[in-house]
């Protein structure tokens, strides 16, 4: 037992000496939370819009202002012809052009049902879909407004329009950062713990101290515990720095229990530390270890639902995500942060993480041999 103490003590002394660690633990979380928190936003706003108004009537201008009043669009000018609008779309100056046909006002009043064209840059299929939705909403709103003035024949069916009343729970301002910031905390813990564990073992391999340790009577399990325990502490510290950073920068504090988050965090770290050890058994150089960890970490991040919802993925890839421990931790962190979900609802995730962690640690330990060659 006391050997573990000396191993851990040594590790901490090394961590303390390395200035990069201090940076990684205390500065990185702040940088990442700022960068990701602000950048990750699939919300569609400020879409540059141009109009081709061939009617130039009061009604057509009303249509223009209806679009411009919406935060989704940014007015970027008028185009004389449809061709000109098209070339603006080609070079990416605008993303949508609204073409109002001649005699729009007149046709409207006489019940001739004029046709307005919305030409949308569909390259970004996702935001184009949203833009399309907004166009429909604005159109509907104008329909209602203009209906009394039109020359619709009497006796047409009554207009009973359904209206969707959205209620956004847990995040009523729909701020992306509320969702992304807890996600960053989860990814940070993953990356850093796996990375540091892997690197620290391989570094000892490269320097030759690992060989030295292997000829001492220290037990293999003691060696593994001595390597993982310090980085678990580092990961725990990181988790809390992340929580603090999220709170200080974005004013985002968790709704649920901190104690639960700590518990889940520690369980989750079994997997990442296991990954670190695993990478170290595969790699002979720090460079290789880095590649291995990066490959898995990137994979874990992408398939965790961090910024791409898992439901969107094809079925086969969805199945793969079940093998990703970060998927569960991501879920747990968000649930606790945003919904304050009680722990009893999260036992499944906890169980999966625990199983993964134990398997990872045991598997990696089995690969880790107190022999060379």
């Amino acid at each position: 037992m006391s050997r573990i103490f000396y191993l851990v003590q040594k590790e901490f002394r090394q961590i303390r000496r390395e200035r990069a660690f201090i940076f990684i633990i205390f500065v990185m979380p702040f940088i990442q939370i700022v960068l990701f928190g602000f950048a990750v936003n699939t919300d569609v706003r400020y879409v540059p819009i141009a109009f081709v108004d061939m009617d130039r009537s009061q009604t057509s201008r009303r249509l223009l202002t209806a679009f411009c009043a919406n935060e989704t669009y940014t007015y970027s000018g008028m185009a004389a012809t449809e061709e000109m609008a098209k070339s603006l779309l080609d070079i990416g100056k605008i993303q949508i052009a609204v073409v109002i046909p001649p005699h729009f006002e007149r046709d409207l009043r006489t019940g001739n049902r004029p046709q307005v064209q919305a030409i949308i840059d569909g390259v970004d299929g996702n935001s184009a879909g949203l833009v399309l939705g907004y166009v429909g909403q604005i159109a509907l709103q104008l329909q209602k407004e203009w209906l009394p003035d039109t020359g619709m024949p009497d006796g047409s069916p009554p207009v009973g329009l359904t209206e969707i009343v959205p209620r956004m729970w847990y995040n009523d301002s729909l701020e992306s950062k509320n969702n992304i910031v807890p996600g960053i905390i989860a990814t940070l813990v993953t990356m850093i713990t796996a990375f540091l564990t892997g690197m620290s073992i391989v570094r000892e391999k490269e320097i030759g101290t690992l060989e030295q340790l292997m000829v001492t009577p220290v037990h293999k399990n003691e060696l593994i515990i001595g390597k993982t325990l310090p980085f678990m502490v580092v990961g725990f510290l990181l988790l809390n720095v992340g929580i603090l950073a999220a709170g200080l920068i974005f004013g985002l504090w968790m709704k649920g229990s901190l104690l639960a988050l700590w518990g889940f965090g520690l369980i989750f770290m079994l997997s990442t530390l296991g990954l670190g050890i695993f990478a170290s058994t595969l790699a002979h150089t720090q460079q290789q270890a880095m590649f291995v960890v990066w490959f898995f970490a990137l994979f874990a991040m992408l398939l965790s639902g961090f910024f791409i919802p898992i439901e969107n993925m094809p079925r086969a890839i969805q199945l793969v995500t079940y093998l990703n421990p970060l998927r569960y931790f991501m879920k747990v962190v968000r649930e606790i942060y945003l919904k304050g979900t009680p722990v009893i609802y999260l036992w499944k995730q906890a169980l999966f993480m625990l199983v993964f962690g134990v398997v990872m640690i045991l598997g990696a330990s089995a690969r880790f041999q107190k022999r060379v060659g």
């Binding site: 706003r45 939705g133 429909g136 009973g160 359904t162 009343v165």
Partner: protein, 367 residues
């Protein structure tokens, strides 16, 4: 022509050739990433798990629900849950949203007033919540146009989607992925190639020979330029064949832009390697300085326009931002060279600037 340069280039090629393991990684990793991420990165939502609470239970309310289901966006997992159980459903993640139809739905629909339908959304993922809200709104517009005034409204809006009429996610993300992957591999390759020689001490050996620093740097860049270019072509080829991303513009222009962009990436790598002391630091720096910004700030997934002002400014100095515009323009819109001149110019300027700094740094570092 100076005979020194070909010698250095040749040596570098031999290095690459003798290390098949790394060569395979260089060529295959990007392909794997392309395929995996090409499928995984999609923001399009389908089959959103939905609970429906129909308090009206009339033909009209059922028709409304039918309309919602028929679109394929929503997948009803629960029906008729009591209102107070919604929280429980969300905690268990059984549904992402709940549609509540009020008990006087049919009655109100027949009258003249507007009929509210409540949509309760688990907005802990706000992006998803946004989509759900938007889809619902679109369905609602459709429903109203069918049932509302004059069957089709007083005016109609005809939407024309250019370049990507089916709004496929892959069209948007795959070219972006190409940009990110190429930058990653090119910057990583050169940065390590130089630092490794410094670590091994072979650089010192080369330096005592009468080779000039710019020759060393160019000698390092040329082989990887060739390699990365091949890699880039391979990836593009795959993107076209596998994901059916069209190429409307000129292939020649695409190749040329790829070349310029790869050069920028390689120069980035060289610069990092002249500053970094160890391979580890070099790799870390590449990851932090190139990958993260290329992923997050270039408009690859998240529109630059929606970012705060400062991040928009930063995105200008991310090479991927410019290449993304080029590659999406050429592939999907068939944009020509004149419209892309600003972007190409910026990338070229980046390369020249980076290489000039590298050569200077290289001088001082080794003195």
């Amino acid at each position: 022509m100076n005979p020194v340069l070909p010698t250095i280039i040749k040596k570098e090629f031999i290095h690459i050739w003798r290390d098949p393991q790394t060569l395979v990684i260089i060529l295959l990793m990007p392909l794997m990433m392309l395929i995996l991420y090409g499928y995984a990165i999609t923001l399009e939502m389908k089959q959103i798990r939905t609970a429906v609470v129909d308090l009206d239970k009339t033909p009209q309310s059922r028709e409304f629900i039918e309309k919602i289901i028929s679109t394929g966006f929503f997948h009803v997992t629960r029906v008729d849950v009591p209102y107070r159980q919604i929280e429980d459903i969300f905690f268990r993640s059984q549904a992402r949203c709940v549609i509540v139809i009020p008990d006087n739905f049919a009655e109100k629909l027949a009258g003249d007033s507007s009929t509210p339908v409540q949509l309760v959304v688990d907005a802990s993922d706000p992006n998803a919540a946004n989509f759900i809200n938007n889809y619902m709104a679109r369905i609602n517009v459709g429903f109203n146009l069918q049932h509302g005034a004059g069957n089709g409204g007083i005016f109609s809006v005809e939407a024309r989607l250019l370049y990507n009429p089916d709004l496929l996610s892959a069209y948007f993300f795959v070219p972006g992925l190409v940009a990110v992957i190429i930058l990653l591999s090119s910057a990583l390759l050169t940065s390590i190639a130089i630092v490794r020689e410094i670590e091994f001490g072979t650089m010192e050996q080369i330096l005592v020979s009468p080779v000039r620093p710019n020759q060393i740097i160019i000698g390092k860049i040329v082989p990887y330029l060739v390699l990365s270019f091949l890699d880039g072509v391979l990836i593009l080829f795959f993107a076209h064949l596998w994901f059916h991303v069209p190429v409307y513009g000129s292939l020649l222009l695409l190749g040329f832009s790829l070349f310029v962009y790869i050069l920028t990436g390689l120069c980035f790598g060289v610069l990092i390697s002249t500053v970094a002391r160890s391979q580890q630091v070099a790799m870390m720096a590449v990851m932090v300085i190139t990958i993260l910004p290329s992923f997050m700030l270039s408009g690859f997934i998240f529109p630059v326009r929606s970012m705060p002002h400062i991040l928009r400014e930063i995105s200008v100095i991310v090479p991927a931002t410019h290449f993304l515009r080029i590659i999406r323009g050429i592939m999907l819109k068939g944009t020509g060279i004149f419209q892309l001149l600003p972007e190409l110019g910026i990338l070229t300027a980046f390369s020249i600037l980076l290489i000039a700094i590298s050569i200077r740094k290289f001088h001082t570092k080794l003195e």
